[in-house]
Subunit: 323 residues, 2 copies
DNA sequence: TTGTAAGCGTTATCAA
DNA sequence: TTGATAACGCTTACAA
């Protein structure tokens, strides 16, 4: 591996001069600088990240953490992060929960964007309290080094449920996500609030606990079909489960929306193709904004007010106007 | 940041003893080992990756590189890589082309899996020749440190085209991907070969150059619709473009497959929902296998024979039997 | 079984 | 404008 020493030797100067050139210090003669840069190119020199990180304790790399490979919209979040990071001369590395803490704790990264729920609040708070900037997605943590970027789930969910009521739906089923997650709670609360405001009753037996995966939606729908009377609308806490439910209905000869309407949340790629009514989350923007706040925080512009992103309803064929 | 020194001080031993414990060396007393491990936990010590990499020159981290955020099946490749890597006590980091060379050249990573075509062959060969193990996906590079894992495009494409001919199709259009990529070349060659074998003529005006993105398929189909006579089957070099084409047809009142059949390649999530006939690539397995070869190569079991993965045809509603 | 000390590639301080 | 040198956190001979 060619290092700074090799360059120094080839150029007939000291390592510190090479280092100064590479870091854009102005205390180097023009002629020397040129010569050194040329030699670096010729010998295809790349600064060793490990040595750099070790000595300087700083890093222009940020870390993004996620672990769920089923949700293709995560790629859009990454896309947004990547674009902002590139525009700001930072590097981006991505890792799963398994190695996340390791990379946060070594000084290879200057900050992290955390999506995976498996990274526990307490761990993040501990790391953040050592002045390590963190942005968390989809949850709120109260700490002077942690910024939260969350989607406003409540308002669009309210609006969608009210829209369903306005279209004549009265008997609802609900397929929930992992119960402890903040977004699932918000979505469910909005659902219950609107029903209550409209004096529509909801029984616990119409609630199905899922895990945000397609399979759990499929299962929920199958169970639903076993009951005496099926609701006229099945509200799902995300798209994957809604799609699973739609497949179960299709496999059992139940028509959507004639026999039962279905709604989701996320607006994933499949939602459009399957004509699923859902709430569209601006994922690219989410990633972009998260990266922006993180890099601003790394640069010392402390800002940890939770940021709420708004989402929009997409009315599609999986819901009709009930006669 | 708590380092090995702090642990040593707290335990009343030397740093080397701590290091030996952390690296599982057996030259440490049982009592000492226990005590040190406890202190590490209490003080939530994490070894500094930079220091470690710098000194040892080795790394149990591998790098995966990709840059195209439109293709959601990439997540499945990552999933396969991630699973194999976790099972083998390695770490995985992912980065885009922008910072890829940097992470390959510092000794933070022990090897790389390269997907992005923007990483040039010459660059990879140069890095590999410094004994850095590399696995490339979707291309073949002849170098003793580079393993190629490629999909067999030719055979299933042949089979699919022959299947179309057998179903009565005679007038074909073709939407190609980026012309220099090996997989596009193979797919197109299989297409032409089968037509020739069946004495079916193909004119250059029926070839449309795309870029594997949905939009280019949409555009190709729009252009196609301007011509005098449209073919009875449009073969696309990947699913995204096929889906774009299907949308263009739908938007213009052209029925699939009654007016024109469409085929793709990849079997992405949307393909199933849209009833697109396509070739299914086992992406999870691709990632898993790539990771396996990479880690074996890192461990010294040199093996650089190109590996071909086979793919299967999925006949779906976008193709009918022509009367 | 444990400790001492050198050195990995880099940056930063200070002297020349 | 340049160079010598210490230090970052860790591993590894080798000495005790």
């Amino acid at each position: 591996m060619v290092g700074i020493k090799d360059i120094a030797k080839a150029a007939g100067v000291s390592v510190s001069t090479v280092s100064n050139v590479l870091n854009g210090k102005k205390n180097v003669g023009e002629e020397t600088r040129e010569r050194i840069l040329n030699i670096c190119k010729e010998m295809s020199y790349y600064p060793n990240t490990a040595g750099k990180a070790l000595k300087s304790g700083k890093s222009n790399t940020i870390l993004f953490n996620f672990s769920d490979f089923d949700r293709s919209f995560y790629l859009k979040i990454i896309n947004g992060i990547s674009d902002y990071v590139n525009d700001n001369e930072f590097d981006l590395i991505i890792c799963t929960e398994k190695s996340c803490e390791k990379y946060m704790r070594s000084n290879l990264t200057g900050g992290s964007i955390i999506l995976d729920k498996k990274m526990k609040d307490e761990v993040l708070i501990k790391i953040a309290s050592e002045h390590y900037p963190i942005v968390v997605l989809d949850r709120v943590i109260d700490n002077p080094y942690i910024k939260s970027v969350v989607v406003n789930n409540y308002d669009p969910m309210r609006e969608m449920i009210q829209g369903l009521v306005d279209r004549g739906y009265r008997h609802f089923g609900f397929v929930g996500g992992p119960e402890q997650t903040a977004d699932n709670k918000e979505r469910y609360k909005a659902f219950r609030d609107v029903l209550e405001e409209n004096n529509i009753s909801f029984q616990q037996k119409s609630y199905f606990a899922g895990d945000y995966r397609e399979k759990s939606g499929y299962t929920a729908a199958k169970i639903l079909l076993l009951s005496q009377e099926i609701p006229d609308c099945l509200v799902c806490a995300n798209d994957n489960m809604a799609i699973g439910a739609m497949k179960a209905f299709r496999d059992n000869g139940i028509r959507v929306p004639e026999d039962i309407a279905v709604t989701g949340f996320d607006n994933c790629d499949l939602a459009e193709a399957m004509e699923l009514t859902t709430v569209s989350i601006p994922n690219y923007e989410r990633g972009y904004i998260a990266a922006r706040y993180l890099i601003e925080n790394i640069r010392g512009k402390r800002n940890v007010e939770p940021f709420k992103i708004s989402a929009k309803i997409k009315w599609r064929g999986s819901v009709a106007v009930k006669k």
